[in-house]
Symmetry: none
DNA sequence: AAGTGGTCTAGACCACTTG
DNA sequence: AAGTGGTCTAGACCACTTG
């Protein structure tokens, strides 16, 4: 082991992180056993376990008694529900997302939406209305509003397949947080029509206002989900 | 130490929790040293430390090198939605909560609920059905299920005015976390009746499974809220 | 039966806070 | 100098998974 004044288990931990991040040890695969790691690093089992346990707590590794320790596929943000888009959510479940655009235009009106986005009355917003599918099943209708500058970026892409948050990230517009309001509402005739349900069915309505790293609003989106196809999971702490 | 098949460090952990909850060891004060705890429980230092480290992770204790280990004062959960009951929520808005009990009995059936609570088939659950009011406006119908032991505690109180979580806290049963599922559903005729709305109106349905400090289930509750009177706010991070 | 991680012990030395 | 928690070792046996 290195001869520094850093604790051994921290050095081991850093080595393990490196292997995981460089995918030398692949997701869902076993990492070397504790015995092997002891020899590899020349430290005691306690030290190896201390390092591994920290990575388990961080969600990078998962231990399975009798089998071994595996690299965890995706690391979620602790107890918090992660801020992600519809397409990401669908793909994580192993389904294929796509969209059908009903409307996409820059708009002068929509005063409430402009106010939420912190825009002046004379500025424009991009409004995009889409039906969202998972494996060709209609799940939700969504109306998202964006400041004009961001809207220009989005309109360069195919809105049927675009993952908006990924596009923004590529342009270094990073989401920091979002405020959500969740409610329930009866489906209108039009909504029932596109979602393939009966008018009046209860929909789960999610209204999201997202903020960038500079704390400026980025997106104001209202999504209405079929309650037979979608629910919202969350973990609360004392 | 007890001669059970439970791991020693878990037994120690439960003992420590008890001392903290009963305030034998007071907030911001030192608990006994590792040496003293070793003698007290008759176990090795490793075992003591394992128990303490879990409580540090849970935020109950805080270690200070060279000084000792102190009981942490209760901390608030900043941006996170706090785990709280209906009555607490209503009072925070400056309104007066009360309830009307529709049903309260120990029950042999309810197999799904027993399973969620980690109970055997031959055990009983307390099921409580209530209409929940804020300033005399009916807001929600709620059905909560509790293990029999906890149920005995609750039944000593007036269920129309009781704040369940406060009762549990007084008896040193502290909530650690909860899993919630949020969905939407159409009101049945019976629900519409007691809530003063029309049948078929969209309700917000919240299903909560709460866990105590020992990670054992405490409560399985399904609540259906009027969507014109209640919504759910949450903050997400990327 | 062999191998994995889970639990537990006894002992050592170190880094930090306090009298 | 004495006491605290922090790090680390070597060794043992157990519970679980797999051939």
């Amino acid at each position: 082991m290195k001869s520094t004044n850093t604790a051994l288990y921290l050095q081991v931990k850093d080595h393990l992180i490196e292997k995981i991040q460089q995918q030398v040890w692949r997701p869902n695969h076993l990492i070397p056993t504790e015995q092997e790691l002891m020899k590899l690093f020349g430290v005691s089992r306690t030290t190896i376990r201390q390092a591994i346990n920290m990575l388990v707590a961080d969600g990078l590794l998962e231990k399975r008694q009798g089998k071994g320790t595996v690299v965890k596929a995706q690391q979620l943000v602790g107890s918090l529900r992660r801020l992600k888009g519809f397409a990401e959510e669908v793909m994580e479940k192993g389904q294929v997302p796509h969209s059908k655009v009903l409307r996409a235009e820059f708009c002068d009106s929509l005063y409430l939406e402009k106010k939420k986005l912190g825009l002046d009355e004379n500025e424009k917003v991009l409004v995009i209305e889409r039906i969202r599918f998972a494996d060709d099943v209609p799940i939700a209708v969504e109306r998202s509003c964006w400041p004009e500058s961001i809207g220009q970026l989005l309109m360069k892409h195919n809105l049927d397949t675009a993952k908006f948050y990924s596009i923004l990230e590529e342009d270094n517009i990073l989401l920091k947080r979002a405020e959500e309001k969740i409610s329930a509402i009866n489906a209108t005739m039009a909504e029932a029509d596109v979602l393939g349900i009966r008018a009046g069915e209860a929909l789960l309505e999610m209204t999201r206002l997202s903020f960038g790293l500079n704390d400026k609003p980025i997106e104001y989106t209202k999504t209405r989900y079929r309650s037979d196809q979608y629910h919202y999971d969350i973990e609360l702490r004392r």
